[in-house]
C-alpha cells in the first residue's frame, strides 16, 4: 500500500462517517418515580376523614408540587393510611405495593411540631420491625404546626431508637420527605 492509497482510504472512512444528525433518543419511563403521596386520616368515631396530599406530576423540576394541608380535631384518635403512586404512568402505578413487598428495606418516620400530636406505628415488616404504612395519630389540645413524613430506603432498623420512630440513627436514602401544615381545632 502506498501513501496515495492510504490517504484515499482515510478520506473514504471520513466521508462514510459524516452523519451530522443524532437519532431521536428513546424517552425513558421513570420507573422509580413517586409523584403522589396521600396520608388519609380517619377519626376513630368514623366522623371525619382528613386527606393530606403531596402531588408533583412532572417529577423533579418543571412545575412546583401541589400540597394539600389539613385541619384535625382536638383530642381525637385517627387511623392513618399512607398511599404512594406514580401518576405519570398510565394507568397510575401503585408504589405502596412495592414498599410493602420490600418492607424490611423501608421505614417511614413521622415528626410533628404540634404539641401533643403523636403518631405511632400500627404495622410491622416481616422481621417484626415497624414499617409505617399504617399508623395511629392522636391529638390533644388545639394548636398548629407541621407534620413531616420521611421514607427511608435501607435504614438501619436495628440502630438505637429507630424502631421507636426516631430517625437520628437510621441512615439510608430518602425516597420521600414531605411536610404538611396542620391545624388542630
Amino acid at each position: 500500500m502506498n501513501l496515495k492509497s492510504l490517504i484515499a482510504v482515510l478520506i473514504i472512512v471520513i466521508l462514510s462517517l459524516n452523519s451530522c444528525k443524532k437519532d431521536d433518543p428513546i424517552i425513558e419511563e421513570p420507573v422509580e418515580l413517586i409523584t403522589t403521596l396521600t396520608y388519609t386520616l380517619t377519626s376513630s368515631d368514623g366522623g371525619s376523614v382528613v386527606v393530606l396530599s403531596f402531588q408533583d406530576l412532572d417529577g423533579d423540576g418543571g412545575n412546583a408540587p401541589v400540597i394539600t394541608d389539613g385541619v384535625l380535631n382536638a383530642n381525637t384518635t385517627y387511623t392513618g393510611v399512607l398511599m404512594l403512586s406514580n401518576e405519570q404512568a398510565s394507568p397510575a402505578e401503585d408504589i405502596t405495593e412495592e414498599i410493602s413487598e420490600e418492607d424490611e428495606e423501608h421505614q417511614f418516620f413521622f415528626q410533628s411540631t404540634v404539641a401533643g400530636l403523636n403518631i405511632s406505628y400500627t404495622d410491622q415488616d416481616s422481621d417484626g420491625n415497624p414499617l409505617g404504612l399504617t399508623t395511629a395519630l392522636t391529638t390533644t389540645d388545639a394548636g398548629s404546626g407541621t407534620i413531616n413524613i420521611v421514607l427511608r430506603h435501607e435504614p438501619a432498623k436495628s440502630a438505637d431508637g429507630v424502631s421507636g420512630g426516631d430517625i437520628t440513627n437510621a441512615g439510608g436514602e430518602t425516597d420521600i420527605e414531605v411536610t404538611f401544615n396542620v391545624d388542630v381545632q
Binding site: L10, V13, P25, E28, E32, D56, E173
Partner: protein, 773 residues
C-alpha cells in the same frame, strides 16, 4: 520514588578488528555521564548469557574477555538510574561507547534529551517507566501527583482525576498514545480510563503551546506514552506483582515484546483487585475495586521510508463508592456531615463491591503510519477509534439496584494527517484532524438522563514553527477548530418531547514561546498562549438531580465560549554541582469561565428540598508557582524540596474559585549506595532508602458559605521507601518496599469529595517485585 532519572543510552558500535577464531573476542568500552560528559564509576555490567559481570573503573572503562561469536545482552545498572539492557551481536572485538543520563544533582523531572529539548519551548515534566512500575498499586492520577503543580480531584481513593494548574475535566486534555481520551470527562467522579502500567512514560505539558493535539484544552496536557518496541530480536519482558496492606490489594502486570523480523510485537496485561480501604480508625465500606486491562502493540517497517504501527488497548474496571457517601437529600447530607463514622461502616473487611458502584470499559484502536518523503520531511497518518461504556449503579427500590442508574456509551473516531519538516535551524509541523464523537444514553435505566445524546463533528488544523538561533529557541503556533454539534435533549415538562439543538463553534488557539539558554546550567523560558474552549455538553444541557452531591444541576443553553490567556515564566538553574532548582510562575486569565453557581432557589420535590446550582459564567484568574529543587549533600545523599502555590479567583463576583488545590510542600531525603551489597554470592545493586514528608496547607482561599462544611485542616504525611535490584542468572529483580502515611495520621483532603463523610486513608504498606527478562 524520587529517583526519576531518565536513562538515555546512546551507543555506538565500533568494530575494531575481526578475528576468525571463536571464543577469543573482547567486548569493552566506556560509560559516560551524558549530563556532565564525565566517566561514570561503579556502573554494574553483566552479560546475561554468560553471567560474567564487571564494574566500571574510575575512568568509566570496562572489559569482558574470551567471548564467543554470538548474541549477547549487556545489562547496565547504576544507582539512581533505571537499568538498561543492550543487545550486542558479537562477531569481532567490539568497543562500545555508552552514555547514561545520570547526574545526582539533576532534578529528576527535568527532561533534557538532546534534540527534543531544544526543539520546543514546551514545559514538559516526565514520570519514568521505573517510577510507574515502582508505584504499580497507584492509579494514573495518583502517580501524576509526584509532579509539582499536579493534584488530584478524588471521590474516595479509587476514583480520581488529575488537576494541572487548577484545571481538570473538560479543561484538561489527556492523550493516550497520542489520541485524546474520549469519555465522560465532565464528571468530577469519573477517572480517566487508562492503565498507567501500559505506559513507559507519562508526561505533563504545563505550557500553552501543545497546539498539535485535539481537545478543548486551555493549556495543560497529560500524555501517556507506550515506548516503541526495542529493536531486539529476542523475547523480553517484565512481570510485576504488588501487594498492599490497605485494602489487601493485589496486582499483576505482564509485559512481553519481541522485534521479530516479520512484525515487532509487544503485549501488556494488568490485573488488579483490592477490597475495602481503611482509615486509621475504621473500614471504608464498599470501596473495593478491580481492573483487567490488556494492550497490544505491533510495528512493521516496509523499508526505510515507510512504517506502520498498531495499538489496541482495553481497560475494564469496577469501582465501589463508599456506601455512606450515597445520600439523597439535604437532610441526609446534614446527618452524614455530623457523623464521626459514616453510616454503614462495617466491622470487617470485604472484597465485595455493591452499589453504589461504577463499571467502565474503554477500548482504543489506533493505526498509525509514517512515510518519509526525504531525510528531513515526513508525513504521519493516524486513524483511531474509541469506545467508552460507563455504567453507574445506585441503591434503588424494587430490585432495580442491578439496573444502571446512568448508562452512557460514547464512540469516537479520529483521523489525522500530519506533516513535519526539520531543517538545521527551522522546524515545521502542520496537520489536519477530524474527530467524530457519538454519545448515547443506553435505554433501560428507568431514569431521565443527566446529559443528553449528541453527535459532534470536529475539524481542526494547526501550524507550528520553531527556530533555533544561537542560544535562543523561538516557537509560534496557531490552531483552528470547527465544531458542529447535534444534540437531542428531552424536555423536563410534561408531555416529554425531544428538543434539538444544533451548535457551531469556532475555536482559535495560539501560542508564542521563547527559551534562552544562558549556559549549560541556566535557562529561562517564557510562554504565552491564547485558547478557546466551547461550552461542554453537560454545561449546556445537564438537567436534574446529581445524586452524589444532592443538588439539582442545570445547564444553560446560552453559554458562550471560554477564552483564556496563560503566561508562563520558568527559570532553571544549577547553582553548583550540589544545588539545582527550577521555578515556574504561571498566570491564567479566563474570560467567561463556566462554573456551577449556587442559586438562591431551593427546589421542593417529593424527596425533600434540594439546593439548585446553575452553570454560569464569570471572569476568573488562576495563578501560582511551582518550585522544585535538589540539594546533594554528598555523592549518595540528597534531598528534594518541592512547593506548589496556587490561587483561583472569580473576578466578577470577588469570590475565590472552588476546587482549587490547597498549597503544598513536600520534601524527601534519599540515601543511595553506589556499591553493591554481597549476600550469599548474590549482588544487591542500586540500594536506595528514602524518607519523605508532605505538608498540605489548609485551603484558606475559600469563604465558609462556599462549602457545606468547613475546609479540612492542614495535614502532614510521612512515608518511606526501600528499593534494590538483584541480578540473577537469566532475570533481573527489582524489589520495592514502601510505607505511606507511616504515622497512621487521620486527615481529610480538600479535593477529596469523600471528606464530607469519612477520613482519608490510614497507613499503607506495599511491596512490589519486578522481574525483567
Amino acid at each position: 520514588m524520587y529517583n526519576k532519572l531518565i536513562v538515555n543510552v546512546l551507543f555506538l558500535l565500533l568494530p575494531i578488528l575481526s578475528i576468525a577464531q571463536d571464543c577469543t573476542f573482547r567486548l569493552n568500552g566506556q560509560v559516560l555521564d551524558s549530563g556532565t560528559g564525565l566517566p561514570l564509576e561503579f556502573v554494574n555490567l553483566q552479560l546475561t548469557e554468560t553471567l560474567a559481570g564487571t564494574t566500571t573503573d574510575s575512568t568509566g572503562h570496562f572489559e569482558f574477555q574470551d567471548l564467543c561469536h554470538g548474541d549477547y545482552h549487556l545489562v547496565l545498572s547504576h544507582i539512581g538510574c533505571q537499568s538498561q539492557k543492550i543487545f550486542v551481536h558479537l562477531h569481532s572485538d567490539t568497543s562500545l561507547s555508552l552514555t547514561l543520563d545520570h547526574t545526582v544533582n539533576d532534578l529528576h523531572y527535568i527532561e533534557v534529551t538532546g534534540k527534543s529539548a531544544t526543539s520546543s519551548t514546551l514545559r514538559l515534566e516526565t514520570i519514568s517507566e521505573q517510577d510507574i512500575t515502582d508505584n504499580a498499586h497507584e492509579n494514573l492520577s495518583n502517580m501524576l501527583e509526584s509532579i509539582v503543580g499536579v493534584s488530584t480531584l478524588k471521590n474516595g481513593s479509587g476514583i480520581s482525576k488529575p488537576v494541572v494548574h487548577g484545571l481538570y475535566g473538560n479543561r484538561l486534555t489527556i492523550l493516550n498514545n497520542g489520541i485524546a481520551q474520549s469519555g465522560q470527562q465532565w464528571g468530577n467522579d469519573h477517572s480517566p480510563e487508562i492503565d498507567p502500567l501500559v505506559a513507559n512514560k507519562i508526561k505533563v505539558i504545563k505550557g500553552t503551546s501543545a497546539l498539535e493535539y485535539v481537545g478543548g484544552n486551555l493549556g495543560s496536557i497529560v500524555m501517556i506514552e507506550p515506548k516503541k518496541i526495542i529493536r531486539e530480536p529476542h523475547l523480553h519482558g517484565r512481570v510485576g506483582y504488588f501487594f498492599e496492606s490497605n485494602g489487601l490489594g493485589n496486582g499483576l502486570n505482564v509485559q512481553m515484546q519481541k522485534y521479530a523480523p516479520s512484525v515487532a510485537w509487544k503485549i501488556n496485561g494488568t490485573l488488579k483487585k483490592s477490597g475495602d480501604k481503611k482509615t486509621p480508625n475504621y473500614f471504608l465500606n464498599n470501596t473495593g475495586s478491580q481492573e483487567a486491562n490488556f494492550a497490544l502493540q505491533l510495528e512493521k517497517s516496509f523499508n526505510d521510508h515507510f512504517s506502520y504501527d498498531l495499538y489496541a488497548s482495553t481497560f475494564n474496571t469496577e469501582l465501589g463508592v463508599l456506601r455512606g457517601s450515597h445520600i439523597s437529600n439535604t437532610t441526609n447530607l446534614e446527618e452524614a456531615l455530623s457523623r464521626d463514622v459514616p453510616f454503614y461502616t462495617e466491622e470487617t473487611f470485604s472484597y465485595q463491591i455493591d452499589a453504589p458502584k461504577q463499571k467502565v470499559n474503554h477500548h482504543l484502536l489506533k493505526l498509525h503510519s509514517k512515510y518519509f518523503l526525504d531525510e528531513e520531511q515526513w508525513i504521519d497518518i493516524t486513524l483511531a477509534g474509541q469506545l467508552n461504556d460507563r455504567k453507574e449503579f445506585d441503591i434503588r427500590r424494587g430490585g432495580r439496584t442491578d439496573t444502571p442508574a446512568l448508562s452512557l456509551l460514547q464512540t469516537s473516531i479520529f483521523a489525522e494527517l500530519k506533516y513535519q519538516r526539520e531543517l538545521e535551524l527551522w522546524k515545521i509541523k502542520s496537520g489536519i484532524q477530524y474527530n467524530n464523537t457519538n454519545n448515547s444514553n443506553t435505554p433501560g435505566t428507568g431514569i431521565l438522563p443527566l446529559v443528553p445524546d449528541y453527535l459532534s463533528n470536529e475539524i481542526g488544523t494547526f501550524f507550528i514553527l520553531s527556530r533555533v538561533r544561537n542560544k535562543s529557541l523561538f516557537d509560534i503556533g496557531l490552531r483552528y477548530n470547527f465544531i458542529l454539534q447535534d444534540v437531542a435533549t428531552i424536555s423536563r415538562t410534561l408531555p416529554r418531547e425531544i428538543i434539538r439543538y444544533e451548535n457551531i463553534f469556532h475555536n482559535v488557539n495560539s501560542s508564542l514561546g521563547y527559551t534562552y539558554t544562558f549556559s549549560k546550567n541556566q535557562a529561562l523560558t517564557a510562554n504565552v498562549g491564547f485558547g478557546m474552549r466551547n461550552p461542554a455538553i453537560n454545561e449546556l444541557y445537564s438537567s436534574g438531580l446529581h445524586q452524589g452531591v444532592s443538588s439539582i444541576e442545570e445547564g444553560d443553553v446560552n453559554l458562550k465560549t471560554e477564552e483564556a490567556i496563560k503566561g508562563i515564566l520558568e527559570y532553571k538553574s544549577k547553582l553548583s554541582s550540589k544545588i539545582s532548582f527550577e521555578a515556574l510562575f504561571f498566570y491564567q486569565r479566563i474570560n467567561d469561565y463556566i462554573f456551577l453557581n449556587p442559586q438562591d432557589e431551593i427546589r421542593l420535590t417529593i424527596r425533600g428540598a434540594f439546593p439548585v446550582f446553575k452553570y454560569e459564567q464569570t471572569n476568573a484568574e488562576i495563578y501560582g508557582l511551582d518550585f522544585a529543587s535538589r540539594i546533594a549533600f554528598s555523592k549518595s545523599l540528597f534531598t528534594d524540596l518541592k512547593y506548589s502555590f496556587i490561587r483561583g479567583n472569580d473576578l466578577s463576583n470577588s469570590l475565590p474559585l472552588v476546587n482549587i488545590p490547597a498549597n503544598n510542600l513536600s520534601a524527601n531525603l534519599v540515601y543511595q549506595l553506589d556499591k553493591t551489597i554481597n549476600i550469599n554470592n548474590k549482588q544487591l545493586e542500586n540500594f536506595e532508602f528514602e524518607i519523605n514528608g508532605q505538608y498540605v496547607f489548609e485551603q484558606a482561599n475559600l469563604l465558609p458559605e462556599q462549602d457545606f462544611v468547613a475546609v479540612p485542616n492542614a495535614y502532614t504525611l510521612l512515608g518511606m521507601k526501600l528499593s534494590s535490584d538483584l541480578q540473577l542468572k537469566r532475570v533481573r529483580l527489582r524489589l520495592i518496599a514502601k510505607v505511606d502515611n507511616l504515622l497512621n495520621t487521620t486527615y481529610r483532603d480538600y479535593l477529596n469529595r469523600q471528606r464530607y463523610f469519612a477520613d482519608d486513608l490510614g497507613i499503607n504498606a506495599s511491596f512490589t517485585i519486578n522481574v525483567k527478562f
